[in-house]
Point group: C2
Chain length 334, copies 2
């Protein structure tokens, strides 16, 4: 059976060029002991993948040039040499960026039994959802009544942070760009603030208007002027959960940081980076709390869906151009 | 009785000019109910005072133009209308920048009874010492065996941080400038690293050489290239206690921050500002732990002493030019 997959032909500097992604194929070998073969239905593309393209080991191993790329995926077992997995089982796994994956069965997880669409386990109930929940609760220690600010508030992670914070009884401000994203935030009862065509000072003023009582919790996805503006509005004892700084992921030369970091002292504030993988032991708690909300339609999670394996690189690149509302997914035809 | 005191004639921008400090005098009124009159023997000048000069409320009220400035001081009661304080009592209080202070007795603290020089309560056993202990233990959660980095490592606070960390069994690297400061650090078993004439990258390389196993705890007094260099050497789970960022206190236009703040994510690191005043409830624990070490000569604390009330502004300004080793003090003649 033929597997079609993407490889990286070189390590990008700056925004990766489309030509760096090469679609290749190979005939799969027979199943080894313990292996399963999976037909992927859904592929995930995520900003963190940019880090794996640089050839440098950060918190996750880099992609190897010429080898199949990896990423979250949902599929169906079509052949199994593993005692616990049978043909027809729906599974989530890391063999994405390809149509047919062949993997050790032990590295594959059967989908939990909640009444939600399969692809929810790549988004609202998968890594982005768990990231939102972890950052808000475990890192920023968000409490009811807190004033919460979220950058990239309509993204896969941010769109869940704002809703989880609203559900907790917080006053929530969301930073986004496009008008339809701002409108969507407003429809959730979130105060929308645009970063477009604004200096850090202007963005800071807009945040102050939207949150006159300051900011207790900042969920950081962006960096750049968003961070500088947020720092200037912190309350005493504020907590910043740093999930990512997408603003700098494609920078060819490092951009300077905020000029007002000493606000951390004046406001006795905490700024803490985290990687969701470290907190996976809490995934069960997250799922128990959030999956029923998803099944009941109480969480308005967004998806942006591209069709076909060939659209995977474009779907990935669109993440850096504001091309997604909510979780970016690639849907594969059968 | 005449009190001589300094006032501020204007709010400085940049490094304050000497002319902004005006020496004035006034005849003190009779003691009110509960008041005491104190002849000061020692005055403290500290970097945080720069913040009070800007006319902006940060974490402490600004100095008022034309009014006596304030600061830590040690003196002797020369007249008392307070039931618990009598003539001859040694006290610490905030009526500094003057020779004779007249204050409510309730705002004055009798010196504890440890076998140490009086002025120790302005330095190693006072605010700077408590700051070092708080940042290292309560904020950075320093553990035996940690790799500890300290900027301004020969300053009033830093010089105690390095010794407290050594006493805990840590590997300690200290950043300083002048050769005699580096030599003093080396004499304590601290790895000395100079920041002079170095780029952030060069400083980072020097830190790596001095601490090949990375940095678990960074005690931050400076900001600027020190912070950028430290961020690039963090271990996973590192803790940064931000005590201050003296590098920027006199900046007329804000200098950009470090370009590698996203290291907080990659290293899952925490960066937390603190103000020692919030932790004063723990002062007794600190004193019990550190005062015997001072009395026994086990803590090598440094003082830089200027003589006479008239030297107070120069003593303060010298803090920003590397003019002190350890605690900067002004000694008043009787």
């Amino acid at each position: 059976m033929l597997s079609r997959f993407y490889t990286l032909t070189d390590h990008p500097t700056g925004l990766p060029k489309r030509e760096l992604f090469s679609l290749e194929s190979q005939e799969l070998p027979d199943l080894d002991e313990g292996e399963v073969r999976i037909r992927n239905h859904w592929l995930s593309v995520d900003p963190y993948m940019r880090g794996r393209m640089s050839g440098v080991h950060t918190y996750v191993a880099p992609f190897q040039l010429g080898k199949p790329m990896e990423g979250g995926a949902i599929g169906e077992v079509i052949a199994s040499n593993h005692p616990n997995l049978k043909v027809g089982d729906k599974v989530s796994h890391m063999g994405g960026w390809r149509d047919i994956a062949q993997l050790p069965g032990d590295s594959v997880t059967a989908l939990p039994d909640h009444n939600v669409p399969d692809q929810a386990y790549l988004g609202v109930l998968g890594m982005p959802g768990m990231t939102a929940w972890t950052g808000l609760n475990l890192i920023a220690e968000c409490k009811p009544g807190d004033n919460v600010l979220v950058s990239a508030a309509s993204g896969a992670v941010g769109s869940l942070v704002v809703q989880l914070a609203k559900a907790k009884g917080c006053h929530v401000v969301g930073i986004a760009g496009a008008a339809h994203k701002l409108a969507w935030l407003e429809s959730l009862g979130v105060e929308p603030v645009s970063y477009r065509d604004r200096s850090a000072q202007e963005l800071s003023d807009a945040i102050k208007l939207a949150s006159p009582n300051g900011i207790d919790v900042y969920f950081e996805n962006v960096g750049g002027i968003c961070l500088e503006a947020a720092l200037s509005q912190l309350n005493e004892g504020a907590r910043i959960a740093v999930c990512g700084m997408i603003d700098g992921y494609n920078a060819e030369t490092p951009a300077p940081g905020p000029s007002n970091l000493s606000q951390l002292v004046a406001r006795k504030a905490k700024m803490q980076g985290f990687i969701v993988a470290d907190h996976w032991a809490s995934y069960g708690y997250f799922l128990n709390e959030v999956a029923p909300q998803v099944a009941d339609g109480k969480l308005d999670y967004k998806e942006t869906i591209k069709e076909g394996l060939e659209s995977t690189p474009d779907a990935f690149l669109a993440l850096f151009e504001g091309g997604n509302t909510g979780k970016m997914l690639v849907k594969l035809s059968d």
